[in-house]
């Protein structure tokens, strides 16, 4: 049975249809990605699912005792608590059980007979319940989730009110995951996670026992986690049975079918209308009226959204030389800390390269060195001939806040107002948007404007620092296509794994102060890293085994040496005894005895010789 169902549900905001006639089901192990442009009502749909928003039409049905967890904006945290204590609160029922068990244990020594029997029965029952609720594991569960979401151990005992917004979101996510509700609703859970935490969350959600509905703009994350896509687009709701990549393939097919059906219907309508017009007053007036009725009853197919998207293009007039950039022995430190050193690489014309590495590894610093914002302590940067560098700044410091969009474009190139409008339209700025002041723009709009400015100038090497931040999926895809078609050279810093997979064919990874080159896209690079980690683990294991083996052998050797020494002492004592006997006079009265003793003496001497040799070898 489904955990939750919507039947013919409609939700309308004043003057805006959020969704209409939506029927959907959530099954026990579903992994659903809810996507759509900003403002299409994804969060509203989620709030409908948890009962925070009501439907205007239709009904919602939930399974009995359904536990729903929702990552709320107000976090649902008690900010007076320390992080770890807050998470312990999830296990309140276990603590109560623990308390009861303790009381029963104490009582067992105080009662006898039937009363004891009763206490023991109750104890058995509660102990089982405790074990079933994984009472022995909660500490390790909390630690696992905290480490997975990137909290250092120092954070565990920090008060939540000292946490930043991002940290609070992560803490709330940790709490929600530990509660393990049947249905988990997550609105942009990856926003404040670094790469390692994202990957951890992907694995966690894949194995999650319940159902998951997640709103995310991170397409790589969606691809890893979900097996169904719900899309909200201008009041329309569509379901796709597959991950994000499947959705990308399937959507144009559906739009095409929709377009065809729409066109066929339009053709039919046109014919009927022509017939009606022609025969309204003639002999066939009756038929015409019949057609009119048919026409009135016909369910009209709405026109599908346009398949063709604006295409953006990065201008390139001057081709650079074959070797674009050569870097040798670059070194940079801050204070006494070496950020990186001995950095060598070359970039050739047309290469599309990602620069990756953990936060603080020096990616942006390397960019600033290339742009001569700062000077290296050692090393050289040699530019190839005719290289023109365009730089995309993550913080958009180069924008003039008082300008409007057209003026901003005109600042970098002499374009007419109508040319500027055309360019801006391709970057999804419509109508009056172009007269907005830069100051009024959102993060995503600023990003698009900066990219528009880059696109009209003649650059043949683009240095891009997190170009997809703040962009919605549509804009990201436009940018990806444009950059993929761009014949120039690109060096890009990005955390967007999907973007990197589609764009780059080489990775520069800054690891522990060195730069390492990997051929291939981002997924190849991750696979290679995983392989290396596995190998390292194997090697460590092997080394440990050998070490243990050596310890055992050493121990064995010690034992052997002890035995050898004991034997030697024993033999030496016998030799002394024999020497005494052979030295006594009365022995010579017994010639046979002498012969035997002499024989034994020689034998023992030989044996002793052997033992001496073994002893020498052993030490």
């Amino acid at each position: 049975m489904a955990l939750l169902q919507l039947k013919q549900a409609t939700k309308v905001y004043p003057e805006k249809l959020i969704f209409d006639d939506v029927s959907l089901q959530i099954q026990k192990r579903d992994r659903i990605g809810l996507i759509g442009a900003n403002g299409t009502g994804k969060s509203t749909l989620m709030k409908v699912l948890i009962g925070q928003e009501f439907l205007d039409q239709g009904e919602i049905m939930t399974a009995n005792n359904l536990e729903v967890g929702y990552l709320a904006q107000d976090f649902g945290l008690d900010l007076d608590n320390k992080l770890y204590d807050e998470l312990l609160g999830v296990y309140q029922d276990l603590f109560e059980l623990e308390e009861q068990l303790n009381q029963l244990e104490a009582k067992m020594s105080q009662v006898e007979g039937n009363a004891l029997e009763q206490v023991m029965n109750k104890y058995s029952r509660l102990r089982e319940e405790y074990e079933r609720k994984e009472g022995y594991q909660y500490q390790s569960q909390i630690k696992g989730v905290l480490r997975g979401l990137g909290f250092a151990e120092d954070d565990w005992s920090r008060n939540l009110d000292s946490f930043s917004g991002g940290e609070k979101t992560r803490a709330a996510l940790a709490k929600l995951l530990l509660q393990q509700p049947d249905l988990l609703l997550l609105d942009e859970p990856t926003n404040h996670l670094d790469l390692a935490a994202k990957e951890w969350l992907e694995d966690y959600l894949q194995d999650y026992e319940g159902a998951v509905v997640v709103i995310a703009h991170d397409r790589y994350f969606l691809d890893q986690v979900v097996n169904r896509i719900w899309e909200l687009e201008a009041g329309r709701f569509e379901q796709y049975k597959g991950n994000y990549s499947f959705y990308l393939e399937e959507k144009p097919r559906r739009l095409l079918t929709w377009q065809r059906e729409y066109e066929e219907q339009q053709e039919k309508i046109a014919k009927m209308e022509a017939y009606i017009r022609k025969n309204k007053a003639g002999v066939d007036a009756k038929q015409a009226r019949g057609r009119q009725k048919q026409l009135d009853r016909m369910v009209r197919i709405p026109p599908p959204p346009k398949l063709e998207r604006p295409k953006i293009e990065f201008k390139l007039e001057t081709t650079s030389g074959e070797e674009v950039l050569k870097v040798e022995g670059l070194k940079k430190s801050f204070a006494s800390e070496v950020l990186f050193e001995r950095i060598d690489f070359r970039i050739y014309r047309g290469e599309k390269i990602a620069l990756v590495g953990p936060n603080g590894s020096g990616k942006s610093t390397l960019f600033r060195l290339l742009l001569e914002d700062i000077k290296p302590e050692e090393g050289q940067i040699k530019w190839g001939s005719k290289v023109k560098v365009g730089y995309y700044r993550q913080e958009h410091e180069d924008l003039t806040l008082e300008n409007n969009l057209i003026e901003e474009l005109q600042k970098v190139k002499g374009v007419t107002t109508s040319q500027a409008r055309k360019v801006l339209a391709r970057f999804l700025f419509k109508e009056d948007d172009v007269f907005k002041e830069v100051e009024m723009l959102s993060g995503g709009e600023k990003a698009r404007l900066s990219l528009a400015k880059l696109s009209i100038q003649d650059f043949n090497l683009l240095l891009l620092d997190e170009p997809t931040n703040h962009l919605d999926i549509d804009a990201k895809e436009l940018l990806e296509e444009a950059l993929a078609d761009y014949p120039g050279t690109i060096l890009v810093i990005s955390h967007d794994r999907y973007f990197l997979d589609r764009l780059v064919d080489k990775i520069f990874s800054l690891e522990d102060g060195r730069l390492i080159e990997y051929l291939g896209d981002y997924s190849d690079y991750r696979a290679e890293l995983k392989k290396q980690k596995c190998l390292e683990r194997e090697l460590k294991k092997e080394r440990r085994k050998q070490e243990e083996g050596r310890k055992v052998t050493r121990k064995q050797d010690e034992v052997d040496l002890e035995r050898l020494e004991e034997k030697i002492v024993e033999l030496e004592e016998r030799v002394e005894e024999l020497e005494v006997k052979l030295g006594s006079e009365d022995i010579y009265d017994d010639p046979e005895g002498v012969a035997d003793l002499t024989e034994e003496y020689k034998e023992i001497q030989r044996e002793l010789e052997k033992y001496y040799q073994r002893w020498e070898e052993a030490i």
Binding site: E98, E105, A106, M108, E131, R132, G135, Y136
Partner: protein, 231 residues
């Protein structure tokens, strides 16, 4: 997969449901590792142990023993110490034993406690619980009758418990047991499991039965034959 295991797989028809004695014979034959292997029984039951009325847990004394040496610790005080020692307990004590375990010592297979010791043993829950060693009245390891408890465990009393998937795993002897000895143990266990069907269990109860040696492949047994045994 090792060559040894592949060879064993040739001997066993994985799709066939064998008769009980045939399966036990085969389990013995497939115990070819260079140590004494245990013959194990695995039963899949049509229950949902997450529901309160469908849990299955208890203890059974194997008539032929398990073939294994079991190390037993007993938490007791006063005259009960002597009783435990005489019954054959390997370690007997109270506070000092608790301390030793808190320091990380866990070289035993079963822990038994008298009820009056539970207030002390209780704090070992986080250590003993995850290892399945926490004394529990339901399986007879919290009791004043130490003589019986220790002797039972030494003689082959083992605990069983259905996991979340309704599976129960139990040893029923070693590879040097005769087929009849193994059969005796098998029958006792199955008899108990069938009699202990939880009240909430609906539909088919005995879904799958299989035996294997420690390092050998699973050998399926026809559940119908098992049910017929006790009709």
């Amino acid at each position: 997969m090792s060559n040894r295991y592949n060879e064993l797989l040739d001997k066993v028809d994985r799709d066939r449901e064998y008769e009980i004695k045939e399966a036990l014979e085969l389990a013995k034959e497939t115990a070819t590792a260079n140590f004494s292997e245990t013959i194990e029984l695995a039963v899949n039951l049509g229950i949902d142990p997450k529901k309160n009325d469908q849990q299955l847990r208890g203890a059974v004394t194997l008539p032929q023993g398990t073939g294994q040496d079991v190390t037993v610790v007993v938490f007791a005080q006063g005259e009960k110490v002597k009783e435990a020692e005489e019954a054959g307990a390997d370690f007997v004590g109270s506070d000092e034993l608790v301390e030793k375990i808190e320091e990380g010592w866990l070289d035993f297979d079963v822990a038994i406690a008298t009820p009056d010791m539970m207030s002390v043993v209780g704090k070992l829950g986080p250590i003993l619980g995850p290892q399945g060693l926490m004394p529990n009245p339901k399986v007879g390891t919290v009791t004043f009758d130490l003589e019986k408890a220790v002797k039972d465990v030494k003689a082959g009393k083992i605990e069983y418990r259905a996991d979340d998937g309704g599976n129960i795993h139990l040893p029923i002897g070693k590879d040097d047991f005769t087929v009849d000895e193994l059969y005796d143990n098998f029958e006792t266990v199955m008899n108990l499991l069938i009699r202990s069907r939880p009240s909430g269990a609906k539909g088919k109860y005995l879904l799958n039965v299989a035996v294997s040696s420690t390092m050998g492949p699973g050998i399926k047994i026809d559940p119908q034959e098992v049910i017929k045994l006790f009709d």
